[in-house]
């Protein structure tokens, strides 16, 4: 992607590299946070879980959950992936008691991962009042130990990073998305694992993308993933292109795709993932976030947070999120670093934005300069410094019904 301006940079010199440290986990991964997760297992337990967690929002207690009462292999697996995520140190499960969720199975998986876990069942714990009291007591008894947990040195090669855009505008594909693409190249070169997503926002880019595949079989799998998204959305009659995109200058889905695709940088693509599948080796991966099989359960990804949740389930420690119109989202388990495509929105929403990519359009910095600043922001977040969305208390989370088939042959040639 071209930089508009080979101009002298007036950006401040890069800060000294931050010494990153992580929380070692039994499975060999390292966390960049040590969250205590409060997870409700049906919407009927949501209120109690929120009441338990809310006094400790600034203390690393994060709220997630699955609202459905009907069984879902997908939700069961994603909840297990999230509850054993490297950024999680302990888990309190909040069940109503009669939902279909396999709570005992989830609890066993968490315990087997070496984490402290408790299962609170509202129907046998004294209803709302008794459950909130018991839950808060369990949380309070663990906060000090979680905060004082030992850490070990952490390198960029320990990190899994997801890239995502939301509220894209006509400059996203000129400024901040190519800058994230450059950061992605730098991170992959440093041995990190990077994933990009949302095949419905790659429609039109499949030929170029397939040419970057590590093997011909993977090229076919990448193309097939985009074709699946195209046919799925065509059947739905509603694509990933909306009024906000149009308002800020994007004219077609494929033009939006071109901008979104720029986030993937230029390195070879090592594989296709599905939610919950962890990248087997460092490198760059595409995550396929569109349901398999016939169209059911409605729109595959109802908002940006759903896709982010799926990347976190595949092990992302943090998310690079770009916006043009100005998104404010964070995430419950993974810090979100937000970059904006234009200085107008950066000025208007500076408290929410970690990186201003508008400097590229302003002729102040080049794409590579902003890309390096993004890598600096990754180092800072991975060293424990809160991102803007974390500092503001954002904990967006959503999980809904989906179905995926196992990865096909050729998806992970590594």
């Amino acid at each position: 992607m071209n930089s508009p301006a080979p101009l002298p940079s007036t950006a401040s010199p890069a800060p000294a590299p931050v010494a990153m440290r992580g929380y070692p986990r039994a499975d060999g991964r390292k966390g960049i946070r040590n969250f205590l997760l409060v997870a409700y297992l049906v919407e009927c337990a949501h209120h109690v879980a929120r009441r338990i967690a809310s006094p400790y929002q600034g203390d690393g207690v994060q709220l997630i959950g699955f609202p459905g009462c009907y069984p879902s292999d997908y939700a069961q697996r994603v909840m297990e992936d999230l509850a054993t995520h490297p950024n999680v140190g302990a888990v309190l499960l909040v069940s109503l008691g009669c939902e279909e969720f396999q709570r005992a199975r989830l609890k066993e998986a968490i315990a087997a991962s070496g984490r402290e876990v408790e299962l609170l069942t509202i129907q046998s714990a004294g209803g709302t009042t008794g459950s909130v009291a018991k839950g808060r007591a369990w949380v309070e008894a663990r906060l000090a130990a979680l905060a004082a947990a030992p850490t070990v040195p952490l390198a960029l090669s320990d990190l899994v990073i997801g890239t995502k855009c939301g509220g894209s505008d006509g400059l996203s594909g000129v400024t901040i998305n190519p800058a994230v693409g450059h950061a992605s190249d730098l991170l992959v070169d440093a041995g990190a694992t990077v994933m990009f997503e949302e095949t419905c926002e790659l429609i039109g880019c499949e030929t170029h993308m397939a040419a970057r595949a590590a093997t011909p079989e993977l090229a076919a799998a990448l193309t097939a993933a985009v074709r699946k998204a195209d046919s799925y959305y065509t059947e739905l009659g509603h694509g990933s292109f909306g009024g906000g995109n149009i308002k800020y200058g994007l004219s077609t889905l494929e033009e939006k795709s071109l901008g979104a695709y720029a986030k993937s940088g230029s390195r070879p693509i090592s594989g296709v993932l599905k939610p919950g599948v962890r990248p087997p080796a460092p490198g760059l991966y595409l995550m396929d976030t569109v349901n398999d099989g016939p169209v059911r359960y409605g729109i595959p990804n109802i908002n940006d947070t759903q896709t982010i949740t799926e990347m976190v389930a595949s092990g992302c420690h943090l998310i690079l999120f770009t916006t043009g119109a100005g998104s404010v989202v964070g995430q419950a388990l993974a810090p979100v670093i937000k970059g904006v495509s234009n200085s107008r929105v950066f000025t208007r929403m500076e408290d929410d934005m970690d990186i201003n990519g508008g400097t590229i359009a302003d002729g102040i910095e080049g794409v590579a300069d902003v890309g390096r600043r993004i890598v600096d922001a990754v180092r800072a977040a991975a060293s424990g410094l809160p991102t803007k969305s974390e500092a503001l208390g954002h904990q967006e989370f959503i999980l809904s019904y989906k179905t995926y088939e196992p990865l096909g042959p050729g998806c992970l040639p590594v």
């Binding site: 071209n2 039109g204 065509t234 149009i246 004219s251 071109l258």
Partner: protein
């Protein structure tokens, strides 16, 4: 050649038939790239929006960064705004989506 900072438009690749406004470009003013391409904007081109760099025939591709990002619905004279009113998608047109 433009002075540093004088560019108000970028052509992402040679051969593209649209430029992208880096700032709001007023109707009647000059749209110019850093490498010296310049033309008159026949209407306001808001930041992030596209301007036709050459006359674009009906049915021709809209080319941005060497990629076809849409099809011209009508003749688009050089200097005109290129957007949903004169561009169709090869994929979805999202007629049900709302545009403020």
């Amino acid at each position: 050649m433009g002075e540093p900072g004088a560019a108000n438009m970028i052509r992402l690749a040679a051969g593209d038939n649209v430029g992208i406004a880096l700032v709001d470009i007023a109707a009647g003013s000059t749209a110019a790239t850093l490498d010296g391409l310049a033309l008159r904007a026949l209407e306001a081109i808001p930041q992030g929006h596209k301007i036709a760099l050459v006359p674009i025939a009906p049915g021709a591709d809209i080319v941005r960064l060497r990629m076809a990002v849409g099809i011209a619905r009508a003749e688009i004279p050089a200097g005109r705004l290129v957007h949903v009113h004169n561009v169709a998608s090869r994929y979805l047109n999202n007629d049900q989506d709302h545009y403020e």
